[in-house]
Structure formats: structure tokens, C-alpha cells
């Protein structure tokens, strides 16, 4: 277990900050440098993006979950650049409090006053934006990282605004200045133009080589304010994150604003009104370090273990207080993350209908939900696919990641249906309406900002499965989520991207100047249009230079209809879609063409049809195949051919039967591809 530097008699000054940026601009790499410069990890331990500890983060090279750490640093007031702890202290990991005194040079005190830096590395991807919002609420400052080759991008702006709204102090940092293609000065101007920070206030850094790190450390101590003064002596600590640990249960990350918290305290969550006994308090350094005195006070962040069994027992954003001396009022909390994208997961194999595969999937889903409380799930049954779960996600990347983790960590193989959004359906009458599964459809939560205009004698239902759409005779209107989409791109691509937005039923809002070569355009686009390869199309037409951010702003009614897909005459609900009427025929035809490519030929002809309320609007046919036999099978061919056929057999396991037609898993995703 690593040791912290000995606490001096006078308490260290505290700085709480987050590192925020557009995806891949170098947040996690910058965090590496801060950890190394402050001797929190030795050069030997340092690996790239040390805080990205999940396998999936390391493989994909992106941060999914925010990580909070605490390091100690010395700074002389007024200094423009600091000495690095590396130069006068032994690495924290191999130092006992005594050996930590072993200096490389003069006394540590001669390098300045002690600062406790609590910082949080955040994810850059839009799907995980709520992680950033949470992190910011626990901080007074934010380092805004901007890639010197890429400049200001969509999430740079979004995250900067989040920080401004929280009244945080921002240090803009231009990173990757070591790259030959760095446009450092231009990018500084962009920062000034779009965010209003003076270009000369930007720090120039290379998180790769370490250039600029001494200046950054000095700026952190100088420019960021310390924690606000306590306003009460009653404990108030904000829960800004929670993770599940197989051995210790839920580990809660808190930021103390008022009062003190000690091991042994009986705590009470103001929101959920649940109580727990604190058994351990510690800090991530980045390894977990249990505080020997077991106590934290105002301004500090720490992790708390309190025998909490399940993530469902805590609410992130809740306030912790003491059971026997409770604070009167909770700290301002968070909006819970909202699931915007839904799809079904079914076990890829359904052997003998004994349901063993479904049980395995259930275990995997429940286990994963302990680690990731931001996806929702509820059991469903489909004629074609059997028993499975309808799951809700923060976005497409999140969906992808959940599927991969279920397959990898849960050892299940999954068939996934095409993602849909959550629709609000206004129906006549107030009686309970049941969906395709016979389960009652949920009403939209009255407290939701999107609950509005529901006349007396009607109700607003939440539908995210086309199969659940009530009888259209009762439907007054179908409303869909509308996003504000901001796209930042080089000027020459504006025409194409505008056309894409308009094609996707977008409404033009405005256009702003970023620099001489780039602009930011704003559209309102239905989310349903965005989840169909909008991002890939936009990336493609801007040669990868365009970046975008989107946020659901409201629900709007439109002429939406349910489109059925029939395979060999049988409707397949997993392929049903809610589409705009004007686009139904086009979408239907594209879907059938994709299906035709995906479904292998059979020994009989297979008709494919798209239909609106029983009326066929598009049709395709998969021709029967006429032969399936290889000419030769001699001595050396036997093994090879057998393996080939065994592979086909395994492939068929991942397929589903609709009547007598075998459909591969990819076909269920065919709906995704607009083909335009």
C-alpha cells in the first residue's frame, strides 16, 4: 500500500479540479504527467493512461469512467514554474513515512508550501458527458485541454460551458505542442475567439514530453481558488461517483463541503434516507490508500466504504450527512443520467428452449449493472428471438460497450436489435394500455421536463419498442426527442453537412465563426435520425475533421408511423420501425436491400416486404440457391472441408429462425444502415 507524504502540522492547501476536453485531446495522458511529476507513481510504474484501468478503456484507448485521485505537491507562492517532486523526493510507492524523508537534495520545505491536489480525469465522449457534470460539481477548477493540432472542437465548447455554469475557474491548456503539425498560436486564438479566454493565458504543454508541466502545476496552485469556507459545522458531503467492488461492496466517492467525516460514523443519505456505518475512508493515490487517522474535513475528496451492498442503494448526487447530527438541507444534486437509446439483447443461442441461455444473460446483465448503473434493463419476449432484455443506454457508444462487456465479462453471446429512441405517445383515454408483451406501458414521468401538453382525458406513454405502439386508432400523436446538434467543421464542408442535416429532418438554427477556416453550425435534428449513422456520415463527408455534440432539448410531434417488415410473409417485430411517413418507402426499400444482403439464400425463395398498417410499400426477393456442394473432397480436403462445414454450423448457432427462414444476427442491425 502506498504511503502519502507525512502530513505537516499545518494542513496543506487544497485544490480540487477536473481535467476536461474533447475526446482524445490528451486528458488521461496529462493526468499521467501530473501523477509522475508529483511522484505519485514512479517512472517504473508509469504506463500510458494509467487512470484508464478498465480493459475496455485500455483496448479502445478512451476514458469511459471518471477517476478521482489525490496527490501532494509543493509550490512557492508567486512562482511561475514549480520544482517537480521527482527532483527531491523518493517515489511515493516505495517510501515509508520515514524513508520518504530521504531527499535527493535539500529539504522538501525549501521547495514551497504543501498542496493537496484532488483531481478528476473525465471522459471526452458525448455519451459520458454526465460523468463530466458530476465531476465538476466536486471541484473549484477545471483544466480545459485543447489539442494543438485539432483546435477547439464540439466537446471542448460543451465541457467548457458546463464548467462556466458551475462557476469554476478554468485554465486553458494547449496540449501536444511537441507535434510537428501543432498550430499552437492559431489554436490559442481559437480559444480566445470561441471561449473568451485571452490567448496569452493559455498554457502550452506536451503531455507526452512533459514540457510545460512545472508551469501548469504552478498555475493550478496559483489560479485555482481553494475550497469554499464551510457554511455549517454539520456534515455535508456530495456523492459524485460510486463503483462496485466484489469484495467491499459499493465504494462511494465524496467531496466534503461542510463538517467532518470519520470512520465509525453512522451516515445518512439525505435523498434516499438510508443509513450506513463507515468502515473505511481513503484516497486514490492512484492506488487506494486507507487514511490511518480515518478522517476528512471540508474541501477534501475521498472514497468511503460503508457496507453498501448494491449500487441501487446509493444515488449519485445525493448528500451524505451524519445520522445523529444531520444537516438540514442537501447540497444541490444532479439530474440522473437519461437513457436515450434503446435496443433488445437476446441470447444468441436458444438451445432446446430450456431457457438456460436466458438465465445466463440475466446473470450477466445483473452483474454488469452493479458496475454500471447508467443502463436500464427489463425483460422482453419476442416471437422470433425468444426471451431477452430491452435495455436503455446513454448513447450508441455506451450501447456498444455494454454489449461488449456482457459478452466478454459475462461469457454470453448476444443478438442485438437495432437501436431506437424513446417516443412519447399521446393516447386517448386514461385506462392502462398494454404493450406487445402484455405488460402495461409506462406513462411519462410527470416531473420530466418533457412532460407537457397532455389534455384531460388523455395520457402520455413512453414507448421505445415499435412493437409496443398502441392501436393507431387511439393515438393522438407520436412525439420524438429532438436534439440540439452543434457541428464544428472546416468551412469547405459546410454545404454537404447542411444538406445532411436537412435530409435528416433538421431545422437550421445558426452558424458561428470559430476561426478563419472553421465554423460551428447548429441544427435541431430528431434523435432518431442521429442514431442512424449520422455521425459516420458527417465524419465521412468532412474527411474526419468535423466534430459534433448533441443534447436532447425537447419532444416534438411529427407524422410518425410504424413500419412492419415481413419475412416470408411473417412480420418480425424485431425489425419493426417507427419512421416518418414521408421517409417510410425509402427506408423500407433500403432495409429490404440490406436484409437481402444479410440473409443467406435458402433452398426456397424468400419474399421480403415492408408494410404500413397492412399495406405493402416495398418488396424484395431472396432467390433460392440451386446448389451447395463442393466438387472435390479428396484425402487432404477432408479436414479442411470438415472444418469449413463445422464453421458454418457454428455460424448458424448465432442465427435465429423466423418460421423456416434462418436469419443471422447482422440482419437485425440492417435497420441501422440508411444506405443514403
Amino acid at each position: 500500500m502506498p504511503e502519502l507524504p507525512p502530513k505537516p502540522s499545518s494542513a496543506p492547501r487544497i485544490r480540487n479540479f477536473s481535467i476536461i476536453a474533447h475526446i482524445d485531446h490528451g486528458k488521461s495522458t496529462l493526468a499521467d504527467r501530473l501523477l509522475q511529476a508529483t511522484n505519485a507513481v514512479s517512472a517504473r510504474e508509469a504506463k500510458e493512461q494509467i487512470l484508464d484501468s478498465m480493459d475496455i478503456e485500455r483496448e479502445r484507448g478512451i476514458t469511459i469512467k471518471a477517476s478521482a485521485v489525490t496527490v501532494y505537491h509543493r509550490h512557492k507562492p508567486g512562482a511561475g514554474a514549480d520544482d517537480l517532486e521527482t527532483d527531491f523526493e523518493s517515489p511515493a510507492e516505495d517510501a515509508s513515512p520515514a524513508s520518504h524523508q530521504v531527499r535527493k537534495g535539500d529539504s522538501p520545505e525549501s521547495h514551497g508550501d504543501l498542496y493537496m491536489l484532488n483531481f478528476i480525469d473525465t471522459p471526452g465522449h458525448v455519451d459520458f458527458n454526465y460523468e463530466v457534470s458530476r465531476a465538476l460539481k466536486a471541484c473549484e477548477g477545471a483544466i480545459l485541454v485543447v489539442d494543438a493540432t485539432q483546435g477547439v472542437q464540439a466537446q471542448t465548447l460543451v465541457n467548457a460551458y458546463l464548467a462556466v455554469n458551475e462557476n469554476l475557474t478554468i485554465i486553458p491548456v494547449i496540449n501536444k505542442i511537441d507535434l510537428p503539425s501543432a498550430r499552437t498560436l492559431e489554436v490559442a486564438e481559437e480559444v480566445e475567439q470561441t471561449l473568451g479566454f485571452a490567448a496569452e493565458d493559455c498554457l502550452l504543454v506536451s503531455a507526452k514530453t512533459g514540457v510545460g508541466i512545472p508551469e501548469l502545476l504552478a498555475a493550478i496552485c496559483e489560479r485555482f481558488p481553494g475550497p469554499r469556507e464551510p457554511v455549517t459545522d454539520k456534515l455535508r458531503a456530495l456523492i459524485f461517483d460510486a463503483v462496485y467492488d466484489d469484495y467491499r461492496g459499493v465504494i462511494v466517492y465524496v467531496r466534503v463541503f461542510d463538517g467532518r467525516l470519520r470512520v465509525g460514523d453512522k451516515i445518512r443519505m439525505i435523498g434516499t434516507e438510508r443509513t450506513f456505518q463507515v468502515t473505511e475512508i481513503g484516497k486514490m493515490t492512484p492506488k487506494p490508500y486507507r487514511l490511518p487517522n480515518g478522517e476528512i474535513g471540508p474541501g477534501e475528496t475521498a472514497y468511503v466504504v460503508a457496507a453498501i451492498r448494491s449500487l441501487r442503494d446509493v444515488r449519485i448526487g445525493d448528500t451524505v450527512t451524519l445520522e445523529n447530527a444531520p444537516a438540514a438541507e442537501a447540497l444541490p444534486g444532479y439530474q440522473p443520467p437519461r437513457q436515450m437509446v434503446f435496443c433488445d439483447f437476446y441470447p444468441a443461442t436458444t438451445e432446446d428452449g430450456d431457457g438456460a441461455d436466458f438465465e445466463q444473460l440475466r446473470d450477466a446483465v445483473e452483474k454488469l449493472s452493479l458496475n454500471d448503473s447508467s443502463f436500464t434493463f427489463q425483460p422482453v419476449h419476442s416471437e422470433a428471438l425468444g426471451f431477452g432484455f430491452r435495455c436503455g443506454f446513454l448513447g450508441l457508444l455506451h450501447m456498444d460497450i455494454v454489449q461488449e462487456r456482457l459478452e466478454r465479462e459475462g461469457g454470453v453471446q448476444i443478438v442485438q436489435t437495432a437501436p431506437t429512441v424513446s417516443y412519447h405517445v399521446l393516447v386517448r383515454g386514461t385506462d392502462t394500455v398494454t404493450g406487445a408483451n402484455g405488460q402495461a406501458l409506462k406513462s411519462v414521468d410527470h416531473s420530466s421536463p418533457f412532460y407537457r401538453d397532455v389534455p384531460a382525458g388523455s395520457q402520455l406513454l413512453e414507448v421505445h419498442n415499435p412493437a409496443d405502439l398502441p392501436n393507431m386508432g387511439h393515438v393522438i400523436e407520436i412525439r420524438e426527442p429532438i436534439c440540439k446538434v452543434e457541428i464544428m467543421l472546416p468551412k469547405e464542408y459546410i454545404g454537404d453537412v447542411m444538406k445532411l442535416c436537412l435530409d435528416r429532418r433538421g431545422l437550421y438554427k445558426n452558424q458561428n465563426y470559430v476561426s478563419t477556416s472553421r465554423e460551428i453550425i447548429t441544427f435541431e435534428v430528431p434523435l432518431a435520425e442521429i442514431i442512424y449513422d449520422f455521425f459516420d456520415k458527417m465524419k465521412g463527408m468532412t474527411s474526419g475533421y468535423g466534430t459534433m455534440d448533441y443534447e436532447v432539448i425537447e419532444y416534438r410531434a411529427d407524422n410518425l408511423v410504424k413500419m412492419d417488415t415481413l419475412i416470408n410473409g411473417e412480420p418480425v417485430e424485431a425489425l419493426a420501425l417507427i419512421v416518418h411517413r414521408d421517409k417510410a418507402e425509402f427506408r423500407g426499400r433500403n432495409l429490404l436491400v440490406r436484409l437481402k444482403e444479410q440473409i443467406p439464400r435458402h433452398q426456397f425463395e424468400i419474399p421480403l416486404q415492408s408494410a404500413l398498417g397492412g399495406k405493402v410499400i416495398a418488396r424484395e426477393t431472396i432467390k433460392a440457391y440451386r446448389k451447395d456442394v463442393l466438387a472435390k473432397c479428396y484425402g487432404g480436403d477432408v479436414s479442411r472441408k470438415r472444418k469449413l462445414l463445422e464453421k458454418q454450423k457454428e455460424g448458424k448457432k448465432r442465427m435465429k429462425n423466423v418460421g423456416s427462414v434462418t436469419i443471422p444476427q447482422e440482419a437485425f442491425m440492417a435497420v441501422l444502415d440508411q444506405g443514403d
Partner: protein
């Protein structure tokens, strides 16, 4: 088990680029292996690489023929104990182009075969019952057939030739980049007959880009007019990595329309039948006697493959199979494919290094029997199928039976002479149906 007692565990050589790593070895002869009664020899030389070919062959460099023959003779000597003195039932020399091997090297090879193995000659007075004459086939390229070579082969015990005609149409031969004069085919068959080689077969290919059904029927007529007892008719397969496949994907030509290909299948069935031959495997036809009885014109060597019998393999890239004494499974292997690796080290003795090896696995053996059995006219014995499935996967026999019943309702499988065999329609789906059986077995 035999494969635990390795005879010659081969050194692990470095697996440089393009080189196989080998570490497996053949099980020791004897033990629980049944004696091998068949032998395949691979001769890896060709004039020129045909565009559809995925056999291992190199364009002939005369200088390596001697080294190859030396090494092959050593390998044959090391393989001999696996026959345990039992006479061989079949020998098949394939390639490559075996007829490209120089006559004096053929003489050495034939002598060494006689030294190492027991070969029963056609004129052996004891060639009866359990000691039938050894079926000894050599594949020939019509271009390279000389009377001298045929006579040499005949003297060495060869009694069957398989002539690679492929097509009689110069244009289609050109598409295949197969360089021979079609007029050489009748000449070669005549030379073989004249030299006393009793059994003769011709290979044809159909489905060549640009080939019409009439072209194909003309090829069939010309082949069937020859003095032969056996015909192989293959539909062109685009094997991965061949020039034909590359040309196809470049769009140089289109894949043959499936409907036409099916007609071509039917054409060969009906023409062969009119010529007195019957299909006994997907692509193979043999002369039959009155009342449809076999007169032994089928290629027994190939039947050994399809019935999962034991055969030895010599030469680079050759594949072998040795069945365990109880007959429920077998070792499969493939020799190292590259001639250079096969020849190295210069003083190599014993069996060849292996590129692939699979130990006996009864479950796999059942799948293999189903896969090849479906391709054969003789089909599959339902009693065996039931027992075998039950043995390797208890409870599966009933599922497999149901699957067979369904295929029979679909008109793809029929019960004849108390055996399951594919119908004419079913034979065109032999692969897909094998997969259905595999699924039922799981």
C-alpha cells in the same frame, strides 16, 4: 493411446515467415493402429501453374527431381512398417504432374515401392479374395505421356491412369491457363492402352467462364467416346488464393449462373448413364455391369478416403489417415508443404515433418463419415448412424434421425437398399445437408 508414444518427435524449427511450425509426429506403427492398405504419393512438379489449381506444385526445375526422389524413397521406407507386411490395396500417385518425373527416376521409385511394400500384380496367381491386385493409379498430363513412360509404369505394376483432360476446347483450356493440345488426350489414352494399362480415366471441368451447356455436352461426348472405364467431372471451384479467384474478383469474368451449372450437372449424369457409367460420388462416374452392378471400375483409392480407411501419405503436402484398430477414429496429418522444407536437411531420413496433425477423435470421425458418406451413392447405413451418434453424443441419435426424416420429406434424401442416400436433387445440396446433420448431432 498410440499417439502418446511418439516415434519421432520432430524438432521444433523456427517458424519464420511463410514457414509452418511443426512439432507433431506420426504415432508409432503397430500398437492400436490398423495396418494401412493404401498409399498416396505426391509429386510436386508441373510445367506451369494452371490458374484454378490449389494443389501444392512448383514449376518443374529438373535439378530437384533427383533430390526429391531420394528423399521420397527414404520416406517410403520409413512408412513401410505401417502396412505391417499386408499387401497394399491401392496406390495413387498424384500431383502436381507425376508424368513429369523422368523415366529413370520412375524406375527407381517403382523399385523402391516393390522393396518396401507388398504389391499384388494383376497377373499374380494368388490375386484373389483378400488379396486383390493392387489398384495402382498414376495421374498423367496428356502432353507428357510417352510409350516409354507408360511401359515403364506398366512394368512397375501401374494398372490405372487418370488423364487430366479438363476440356477439349482450346478456348476454355486457355481460360484455365491449362497448356496442352486437346488432341493429345486420345493419343495418351491410346498409348496407355497399348502399353497394357488396363484401367483408364479422364478428368473434365465444367462451369468454366464462357462455357455454354452445348460446349460442355461436346466435351462430355468426346471424353465418353474414348476407351475409358471412369470419368471425373468437376464443377470449377474458385479456391482461395488461386489466379482464377483473383481474376474473378478483378471482374475479368463472371461466376457461372447457378441455373446453368445445375444443368451441367444434369448433363453429365445423363450422358454418363447413356455411356454405361453410373455416378458413385458427387463428381465421379464408373462403368457398371448389366443390372447396374459394380464391375470394380470405381476408384478404390478414393473410396478409401471416403470410407475413412487408413492410408499413408508420402511427398510434400500429402495428407494421410491412420485408423485405430477399433475403427472408431483415426489420426490425420499433412506433410510439410514446401519442397525445400521437405528436402531439408540434406541427409533427412524417416517420415516427413508434419504441417498439421489431428489426434483421433470419435466425434470428428462421425462427422467426417457423414460428410463423405452423403456424397457417395452407397450413402450411410442408418444402423451405423444411430449407434455412432449415440456413442459420441448420447441422445443425439433421435435428433439426427428426425433431421434425416425431414430431408426425406423435402425430397433430398432417400432410403434405398436400407441405406440413406441423397437424391439427385439432394446431391446438389450435400454440403448444406451435412451442416444440418452436424447441427442435429450437437
Amino acid at each position: 493411446m498410440a499417439h502418446n508414444t511418439r516415434l519421432n518427435v520432430l524438432p521444433q524449427r523456427d517458424g519464420g515467415i511463410g514457414r509452418a511450425t511443426f512439432g507433431s509426429a506420426l504415432p508409432a506403427p503397430g500398437g492400436d493402429l490398423e495396418p494401412a492398405r493404401s498409399l498416396y504419393i505426391h509429386v510436386p512438379f508441373c510445367f506451369h501453374k494452371c490458374h484454378y489449381c490449389d494443389f501444392y506444385s512448383i514449376v518443374d526445375t529438373q535439378d530437384r527431381q533427383v533430390a526429391y526422389t531420394d528423399r521420397l524413397i527414404g520416406e517410403l521406407r520409413a512408412l513401410a512398417p505401417y502396412s505391417r507386411g499386408e499387401p497394399l490395396r491401392t496406390i495413387f500417385v498424384g500431383g502436381g504432374t507425376p508424368s513429369l518425373l523422368r523415366v529413370e527416376l520412375w524406375e527407381r521409385l517403382l523399385r523402391s515401392l516393390d522393396d518396401s511394400f507388398t504389391i499384388v500384380r494383376d497377373d499374380d496367381p494368388c490375386a484373389v479374395g483378400d488379396r486383390p491386385p493392387t489398384e495402382f493409379t498414376v495421374e498423367c498430363n496428356p502432353e507428357t505421356v510417352t510409350f516409354d513412360l507408360m511401359a515403364t509404369l506398366r512394368r512397375g505394376g501401374v494398372n490405372r491412369v487418370s488423364m487430366g483432360a479438363q476440356s477439349f476446347d482450346r478456348g476454355h483450356l486457355h481460360t484455365l491457363e491449362r497448356r496442352h493440345d486437346p488432341e493429345n488426350v486420345p493419343r495418351a489414352i491410346e498409348l496407355a492402352r497399348g502399353a497394357g494399362i488396363r484401367r483408364r480415366s479422364v478428368d473434365l471441368i465444367f462451369g468454366i467462364p464462357g462455357q455454354s451447356i452445348e460446349d460442355w455436352e461436346r466435351d462430355l461426348d468426346r471424353a465418353l467416346a474414348l476407351d475409358i472405364e471412369h470419368l471425373s467431372g468437376y464443377s470449377l471451384t474458385y479456391e482461395p488464393g488461386t489466379a482464377m479467384t483473383a481474376r474473378l474478383s478483378r471482374g475479368e469474368f463472371a461466376r457461372m449462373d447457378e441455373e446453368v451449372e445445375v444443368q451441367m450437372h444434369r448433363a453429365v449424369w445423363s450422358r454418363a448413364r447413356s455411356a454405361g457409367m453410373e455416378r458413385y460420388e458427387v463428381s465421379n462416374f464408373a462403368r457398371i455391369g448389366r443390372g447396374g452392378v459394380s464391375v470394380g471400375a470405381e476408384c478404390s483409392h478414393n473410396l478409401a478416403y471416403w470410407r475413412q480407411e487408413s492410408w499413408l501419405a508420402a511427398g510434400p503436402s500429402a495428407s494421410g489417415h491412420l485408423r485405430t484398430a477399433d475403427g472408431t477414429a483415426g489420426h490425420r496429418w499433412k506433410n510439410i508443404p514446401r519442397l525445400d522444407d521437405y528436402l531439408r536437411p540434406a541427409d533427412a531420413v524417416g517420415t516427413s515433418p508434419l504441417a498439421e496433425y489431428e489426434p483421433p477423435d470419435p466425434h470428428r470421425a462421425v462427422r467426417e463419415r457423414i460428410m463423405t458418406g452423403l456424397r457417395l451413392r452407397e450413402g450411410i447405413d442408418p444402423g451405423w448412424l444411430r449407434q455412432a451418434c449415440e456413442r459420441v453424443r448420447p441422445g443425439s441419435a433421435e435428433r439426427v434421425r428426425r433431421s434425416a426424416e425431414t430431408m426425406s420429406v423435402r425430397g433430398l434424401l432417400e432410403m434405398e437398399d436400407r441405406r440413406w442416400r441423397l437424391s439427385d436433387e439432394g446431391i446438389l445440396f450435400a454440403d448444406g445437408l451435412a451442416v444440418e446433420f452436424f447441427e442435429a448431432m450437437d
